[in-house]
Amino acid sequence: MDLSQVLQIVSRSDAGMVRSHNEDAVFANAACGLAILADGMGGYNAGEVASGMATTLLGSEIEKAFAKTEPHQLDAAGKLHAHSVLEAEIARANTAIYQAAQSQPQYAGMGTTLVVALFYDNMMTVAHIGDSRLYRLRGGEFQAITRDHSLLQEQIDSGMITPEEARHSQNKNLVTRALGVDPTVEPEIRDYDTMPGDLYLLCSDGLNDMVEDEEIALTLQALSANLELAATQLIQTANDSGGRDNVSVVLVRIVREYPAARGWWARLLQWFK
C-alpha cells in the first residue's frame, strides 16, 4: 500500500556547532511508511559508518520485504509480518555492523542507536535501541513514546533519582543497548494506534539534551502548518543552545486514515486506484 498521500515526512540532520563530523543518519520513505534515525558512536569516522549502515540496510531491506507481503498480514506463527521483518532485519543489520567492526581495526567498537517507526493499517510499530527517541504530539499533548535504554533511565526507573535530578546528572549518554556492539541485540518493539493529525518526532539526543521537552512541544505546535520549518527550527534551537552534539530529526504527520486493504473487493479497489 502506497502511503505517500497519507504521511507527510520531513527529515533533517546537522553536525551541530561543535563536532566536525555528523555521526547521525536518517532515512525516510513515505510511500512504504518508514522512518529511521540512528546516532552512531565510535572513533574517527566509525560512528558515521555504523549509523549509515543501519539506515541504509534497514531502509532498503524493509522496503523489499514488504513488496511481497504487507506488514499487517500474519505469518504462519500468527505473528504480524511487520514484527517478523523488523526483528529479522535489525538482527541482520546488527550482524553486518558487528562483523565490520570485528574485521576492520579502524571500525573496532563502533555501534549505533536506532529508532524505526513503521506505519501501516492505522497503526505504527516502533523498534528502538539506545537513547534516540520517538515523541508524539496528539492534540495538545506531547509525550515520549520510547524509553531510553540508558543508565540514567534505569536509575530513574529504579527510583534512585528523580527525572529532575536526572537533568543534572553527569551520566548522560551512557546507553545500555546499541546496534552492532555485540553479536546479538534485543530491540524493543511495540505497537501504537495512530490518529489523523498525529505528529511524530524521531530525534537523536543532540535535540533532547539541548532543548527541553516543553520547548520542543511549543515549536511543533506553533509550526505544525509547516513541517519543513518546524524541523529547521528544532535544529536551530539546539544549535542556539550550544549545539554540542549532532542533531537530527524526522517529523511524520498522519494526514488521514490508512486502513490496510483486506477483502478481495478492497484489493480490487486498490488495483483500480
Binding site: 539506545g130 546507553v175 543532540g206 511549543l218 527550527q233 554540542r244
Partner: protein
C-alpha cells in the same frame, strides 16, 4: 578525578576520603568505611552509593539523622559542595569534574557494558562537563556569529556579552486591535490567522527573526515581501501580515 569527602569537626579538617567504592558506609562501628567514633553517630549511620560520577547519600535510619546543607534527608543526590552533617561532624562533598575540560567530548554517546564499566568510568571522569550548560540553554549567551543568515552576518562576536538581549515587542498599528502591544518573551511567537496567513517570530541569541509559516501571501517587512528565509528584525521595522500593520521594537 574521583569525587571525595572532606571530614571536619568545628572547622578542623580531619580527613579526606576519595569515593572510589560503589558503597561507602559511614558509622560508629569499626567495619564502616568511614568510621566516626562518637556516640552521636549510629553504628551504621548512612551510606553513599557512587555510580560513575554520581553519588547518592542515604540515611540508614540513624538515631540522630543525616543532614545535608541543614536539611534532614532520607535519600539525597549529592551535588558539588554539599555539606553532610552527622552530629557535630561535617562531610563536604567535592566533585569538581563538571566545570572543567571539554564539553564536547563528554557529549559523545557511549555504550555501557559491564566489562567496559571501569574504563568508561575513567573516561567520563576525565572528560565530563557541567550539564548546567544545558539548563541555561534557552537564554543562551553565546555568540555564534556564523549562525546568522549570510545576508546579515552579525559583527564579530562582541566578546562573550553576558547581558541579555533587549526584549522585543510588537505594537499593532492598524485594525481592530490597533494600539495593542505584545511582548516577545517566548522563543517562538506566531502571528496571523491559521489557515490564512501565519508568520513566526523567533528569538535567538543574537536577535529576533521573522519567518513565513503558511498561507499564499508572505509577510511584508518595510514594504518588501519575505521569501522562504528568515529575516532579522531591526528596531522599528514595520511588518504587514494578513492585512494588519504592526511595528517591531526593542524595549530598553
Amino acid at each position: 578525578m574521583a569525587a571525595k569527602l572532606i571530614l571536619s569537626m568545628d572547622g578542623l579538617v580531619l580527613k579526606e576520603i576519595p569515593l572510589t567504592k560503589e558503597r561507602t558506609t559511614i558509622g560508629r562501628k569499626p567495619h564502616n568505611d568511614i568510621q566516626i567514633d562518637n556516640l552521636a553517630i549510629s553504628g551504621e549511620h548512612s551510606v553513599i552509593v557512587t555510580i560513575l560520577n554520581d553519588s547518592f547519600l542515604e540515611d540508614l535510619n540513624s538515631t540522630n539523622g543525616t543532614y545535608v546543607n541543614g536539611q534532614p534527608i532520607k535519600k539525597h543526590f549529592l551535588q558539588n559542595n554539599d555539606v553532610v552533617e552527622l552530629g557535630k561532624y561535617k562531610l563536604k562533598y567535592i566533585n569538581e569534574t563538571p566545570t572543567q575540560t571539554t564539553a564536547a567530548d563528554f557529549e559523545k554517546t557511549m555504550v555501557l557494558r559491564p566489562d567496559l564499566m571501569k574504563k568508561t568510568a575513567e573516561q567520563t571522569a576525565a572528560k565530563s562537563s557541567s550539564m548546567s550548560d544545558t539548563q541555561v540553554g534557552m537564554k543562551a549567551i553565546d555568540t555564534h556569529a556564523g549562525m546568522a543568515p549570510p545576508a546579515q552576518a552579525t559583527p564579530p562576536a562582541t566578546a562573550p556579552a553576558p547581558q541579555a538581549m533587549p526584549t522585543g515587542a510588537i505594537q499593532i498599528l492598524t485594525g481592530a486591535n490597533a494600539g495593542k502591544e505584545l511582548e516577545l518573551t517566548k522563543n517562538l511567537t506566531t502571528l496571523g490567522k491559521p489557515g490564512v496567513q501565519v508568520a513566526v517570530i523567533t528569538r535567538r541569541p543574537h536577535g529576533y527573526f521573522i519567518t513565513h509559516v503558511e498561507g499564499a501571501n508572505f509577510p511584508v517587512v518595510n514594504g518588501t515581501a519575505l521569501d522562504a528565509h528568515p529575516r532579522e528584525l531591526k528596531d522599528h521595522d514595520v511588518i504587514e501580515l494578513a492585512g494588519i500593520k504592526m511595528e517591531f521594537f526593542l524595549k530598553s
